[in-house]
């Protein structure tokens, strides 16, 4: 008997987001306009109270032919080297998604939109 597990992309996204936010040198994820409008729509139902972006805003997950790719937009801290933080996020996300879901992430791409003081 074979059992197929299906793990939805939003689940992968929120696991990836947690790994990224917990990486040293990451200030925050950057949801961009699409993420903001999504958060906004969600917030409208809650009368503004829940406007903070949901944990997965700023993360896009694509599954094609069993290959999982994750793209993350974020802001890094000025005290850290941006490239090193980017690589650390790539490794942390790959490792954490596999730990939490059993899925192997084929590619993690990181876009650093800004550098900020913390």
């Amino acid at each position: 008997m074979s059992v197929d597990y299906v793990i939805a992309d939003p689940v992968i996204a929120s696991v990836a987001a947690r790994a990224a936010i917990d990486t040293a040198g990451v200030v925050r994820l950057e949801p961009g306009l699409r993420g903001l409008v999504t958060a906004w729509t969600r917030a409208a139902r809650q009368r503004w109270k829940g406007l903070d972006p949901a944990p997965a805003d700023g993360v896009r997950v694509r599954t094609t032919d069993g290959r999982v790719t994750v793209e993350i937009d974020l802001v890094t801290a000025s005290a850290d080297q941006a490239a090193a933080v980017g690589r650390a996020v790539q490794r942390a996300v790959g490792r954490f998604v596999t730990e939490q879901t059993g899925l192997v992430v084929d590619e993690v791409s990181v876009s650093i939109m800004d550098i900020e003081d913390r």
Binding site: L33, L51, Q81, A83, Q90, D106, I112, D114, I115, D117
Partner: protein, 184 residues
């Protein structure tokens, strides 16, 4: 470090674009607004956002943090168009916006006494090499001396490596202004 302003690559800022949104819509655009791709991209984003949120804006108690968040999102959207690849051995890519790199390099140049960074343009060539053009104003004390510029070159190159993780293939320094200092 002033890296949280809302400046576009053309040096106008998002707030200005927001304020001029209706004027431009009414055909009162200036020459820059008619031709600048960055302003146009920001304008399209803001218009889309405004349309998407018209109903919500009618509601009361809009949190003050909202404005900053919109500006930050719009700026990120504009920045997405110009990214620089950073080295990584991992599968996938790491990239950084040219504007973020420019802010770091301007800040490094500013640490040199008697030098003020003005514009910083970061460009990626076809073969992936990164070239930077930094425009400076120097104090009258530094006009004759290349020492200050050599120090700028050193600090900017070091900041690109240490803060960003980037090796610059080319760094052009342009002095386009001289300023006086009190008592001189």
């Amino acid at each position: 470090m002033a890296m949280t302003d809302y400046e576009l690559p053309c040096e106008r800022d998002v707030e200005q674009v927001w304020e001029r949104l209706d004027a431009v819509g009414a055909g009162l655009a200036d020459e820059h607004e008619l031709t600048c791709p960055h302003c146009r991209a920001a304008r399209e984003s803001l218009l889309a956002l405004r349309e998407a949120t018209t109903e919500l804006v009618a509601e009361d108690d809009v949190p003050p943090a909202l404005f900053g968040r919109i500006m930050s999102a719009v700026r990120a959207e504009v920045r997405r168009g110009s990214m620089v690849a950073l080295p990584t051995p991992e599968p996938g890519f790491v990239e950084i916006s040219e504007q973020a790199v420019a802010a770091v390099l301007r800040y490094a140049a500013d640490t040199v006494d008697g030098v003020r960074a003005r514009r910083c343009r970061v460009r990626t060539g076809v073969d992936g090499v990164v070239e930077v053009e930094l425009t400076l104003a120097v104090s009258v004390r530094n006009v004759a001396g290349g020492a200050a510029l050599a120090l700028v070159r050193e600090r900017v190159t070091a900041a690109a490596a240490a803060r960003v993780g980037l090796t610059l293939a080319k760094l052009d320094l342009l002095v386009d202004d001289v300023y006086g200092e009190p008592g001189e």
